[in-house]
């Protein structure tokens, strides 16, 4: 049975359970690999979880000068190899989803790796396990499609660059792909 990861930011209630669960993993040494972003802090408490989308052609891996980011056979993009990462933040700038974070104290990049040590043996990632509202869902596609109205999409267009991901985002049923006009987010008007 093929298990996939689905994100539905509209279901996020901002409880931070996912962030705490991620940071409690021994190998993370107290640092969470995922973060919660406030959509518009001034006017709304709504949050959205930012987990790695595990793109098919990962920009972070492509721009890494130290060859520190590797992709497994299943297409899971690993976090930076600690021996190789030089802390240049190239990946932080390159990722269109804003996933990698540079931790100053460790001089390393950290990012979600879909809990590969768990998913490779059939367990669910920590964040999906603890999410109370199923904003983060890890399971079979058929099971999800049965229960939800929204449609999972994995096709994004940032400006003119198309990005195909392994992790799916839940979007309104009539959506084919998410086209994001990046420039319009930047400008105030």
């Amino acid at each position: 049975m093929d298990m996939e990861f689905f994100i539905d930011p509209s279901r996020c209630i901002g409880c931070h359970a996912c962030v705490h669960a991620c940071s409690e993993c021994d190998s993370h040494r107290g640092q969470s690999m995922i973060q919660l972003e406030f959509i518009e802090r001034s006017s709304s408490p709504q949050t959205a979880p930012v987990v790695c989308m595990h793109c098919e052609d990962p920009a972070c891996a492509r721009v890494c000068p130290a060859d520190a980011i590797k992709v497994t056979a299943e297409g899971v993009v690993q976090s930076a190899l600690t021996e190789r990462c030089i802390g240049c933040s190239n990946c932080v700038l390159a990722c269109p989803f804003g996933v990698p974070k540079y931790v100053i104290a460790a001089d390393q990049m950290v990012k979600c790796d879909l809990c590969y040590d768990r998913t490779s043996i059939g367990k669910k990632p920590m964040c999906a396990t603890v999410c109370p509202s199923e904003a983060l869902f890890y399971g079979a596609r058929e099971e999800l499609v049965k229960r939800r109205r929204e449609k999972p999409i994995d096709d994004f267009v940032f400006g003119q660059k198309g990005v195909k991901t392994k992790v799916s985002l839940m979007a309104p049923p009539e959506t084919e792909r998410l086209e994001l006009d990046v420039a319009s987010f930047i400008s105030e008007q």
Binding site: P58, R62, D67, K70, V71, T72, A73
Partner: protein, 165 residues
Amino acid sequence: MRSEQKREAWREDFPIHWEDDEYVTRREFTKFLGLTSLALFLGTAWIAVWERLRRRLPGAEPARRIASIAELDFGEVKLFRYPTAEEPCILIRIAPDRFVAYSQRCTHLACPVVYEGEKERLRCPCHEGFFSAEDGRVLAGPPKRPLPKIALSVRGDEIWVGDRV
């Protein structure tokens, strides 16, 4: 377009996907050296076992009559094959009452050795190696190991061969 092609060359050396990565880290190499150590130990242990087995195997080297005492005069030799047909051996009467036998294959490069009675030694003509007729030790020349001695037993009128020493 040319810059595209230039990028592809180094991308082969540093692939993103784990399976395409053939880069051997020092840690991997060190583990490989550990395996080599295991292999060498197993080789040595195998020889030790084989060495023991060779001596214990029953009927591997049955005793055989090779000559009668009357056949050889003092200083004469007789060639025989023991334990198999491919193993040439030399029987020598080095004293009126003493017989010795050695493998005839020089321990240097396996040329057959000849007996030089006056000098009480065995000579290998290929590279001028010399062995003592008394106990087979190397007297001179390229051989490093002594000539293997073959155990003899005198039963009445006959000379029999037994185990190699």
